[in-house]
Amino acid sequence: MGYEISLLTAMLISIIGSLSLNLITGFCGQVSLGHVAFVGIGAYTASLLTKATTPFFAALVAGMLLAGIFGVFVGLASLRVRHDFLAITTMGVNFVFLGVVRQQDWLGGELGVSSIPDPGLGKLGFLALVFGCVVLVVLLSMQIRRSWMGYVFEAISGDEDTARMLGLDVSRYKLIAFALGTSLAGLAGGLYAHHVRFIYPDSFAFVESITILAMVVVGGNGSIWGVMLASALLSLLPQWFQFIDDYKLLLYGGLLFAVMRFSPGGLAGFAQRWFPQSQKSFTLEVDK
């Protein structure tokens, strides 16, 4: 039973991670190739604090705050650069994070942070906490999507110059997307650190940013359920089939490529083609 609980917890944590990126990339259209750096900031912050005897929940919140603050900085950078430049800058953020963390002894250097204290909730309790967080994140995502904020995000994602011409404060909205997305990533990081109790720089390597992005993209940019489904599949599959684990990267790479090449709308886009009534429609949503 313990193994399954652990697996489920890990899957739910990765769902939080991908839903957080979904706010930035899926809803608001800002491509971020370095998202795992914010997960890492949350993880390191929370774990160093709990090791210094800070209470668990306070440490989690601190991790979120710090990740969000850095996220706003990156968001500010996003205001100056566009599209492809942004993608590469965010990639750079990931590498700078790794580069700094690897060299600092007080952050554990190459060896990372070990013996992270147990939050004291027990395995099931912790699972319940993570599940609760997933529910909150999903509710927040849904609220954003049905609100005017989500409407503006969509416009920015489509054509930010035109959005500006309609009187929308594009910069402010983008910063909000980054702040929300990165602080939730920090939450995922803090939870992750206290789940596995041992983190090191490679946990937050660039390939993990790609993995999270894969979950968003395969899910279908913006679709909450699609992203959740893709996250569940991509995180569980390697565990279920050992032989897939050896080829895990090949699977990710191939899947990313295949989805973009043959169905850029992801799972959600695929579903829309076969089940047209599931098409996201403003008028349908509003006609409750």
Partner: protein
């Protein structure tokens, strides 16, 4: 007092003088035609007004308020509604949804507040009214890729109207339309103006310009070379020279 006051605007791109000391204004309730041959600086002027381009010199005032330092979205909220030359609809939204976003401007003014506003029916209703005003309500639920260019051009105007602007800035709304479409659309613009909407119209189609504009300003090579009623201006030799020099014989109409 004029609605829009443009004083001594100069814009330089590298070594090119796109605009040189141009002064003009837009009065309440008028349709002002801004005309001139290709490359005269008309679109640049529009961009200076909206804020996409920063002028090297000069001022733009909206009813006495200086716009120069304000970012684009703030200027728009102060009353500028703009329809650009190259149509840019949001491709993932229907025409109605495109316009509704603009109609809901009050919901989106304060970003954090927008998170708590969910009511869209009203904005959608309004957007259908605007689409009807420009005559394309039959395509309200279509996506941009499914409608012809003429419809998209009118949607741009509807979208600009939906924010209830003090003035409409239109950049070649008749371009790419055939004769009949252009006349219909020009009639719609005339009717909007008759109902009180001030319009700054950049346009190449001089036949329609002569018909619907109350006043003209002519630019050539970045300078203002003429101003006045359509009849007087279009008769001036300097204006005709400017166009013919470009090989544009249609100016003779």
């Amino acid at each position: 007092m004029s609605l829009l006051d443009i004083r001594a605007i100069s814009v330089r791109f590298g070594g090119v003088h796109a605009l040189e000391q141009v002064t003009m204004n837009l009065n309440p309730g008028e349709i002002l035609g801004l005309i001139g041959p290709n490359g005269a600086g008309k679109t640049t002027m529009l961009r200076v007004i909206t804020g996409v381009v920063k002028a090297n010199h000069g001022e733009v005032q909206l009813e006495g308020e200086l716009l120069n330092t304000l970012p684009i979205h703030v200027r728009v909220r102060k009353g500028l509604g703009c329809a650009q030359q190259l149509v840019r609809p949001f491709r993932e939204m229907t025409l109605a949804e495109n316009v509704a976003l603009a109609a809901g401007a009050k919901h989106t003014q304060y970003p954090w507040q927008s998170l708590f506003r969910v009511e869209r029916m009203e904005a959608l209703r309004e957007s259908r009214n605007w689409l009807a005003k420009v005559g394309i309500e039959d395509a309200a639920d279509s996506y941009p890729e499914a409608v012809p260019l003429g419809y998209l051009k009118r949607m741009e105007v509807a979208r600009a109207l939906a924010i209830r602007p003090r003035m409409l800035l239109l950049d070649e709304p008749l371009a790419g339309l055939n004769q009949a479409e252009a006349t219909t659309f020009a009639d719609i613009l005339f009717e909007l103006n008759r109902q009180g909407q001030a319009i700054l119209l950049i346009e190449h189609n001089l036949a329609e310009v002569r018909r619907i504009c109350s006043r003209l300003v002519v630019l050539d090579n970045g300078r203002k070379i003429a101003e006045g009623s359509p009849e007087t201006v279009l008769k001036q030799s300097s204006v005709q020279e400017a166009y013919i020099g470009q090989g544009n014989l249609n100016a003779e109409n």
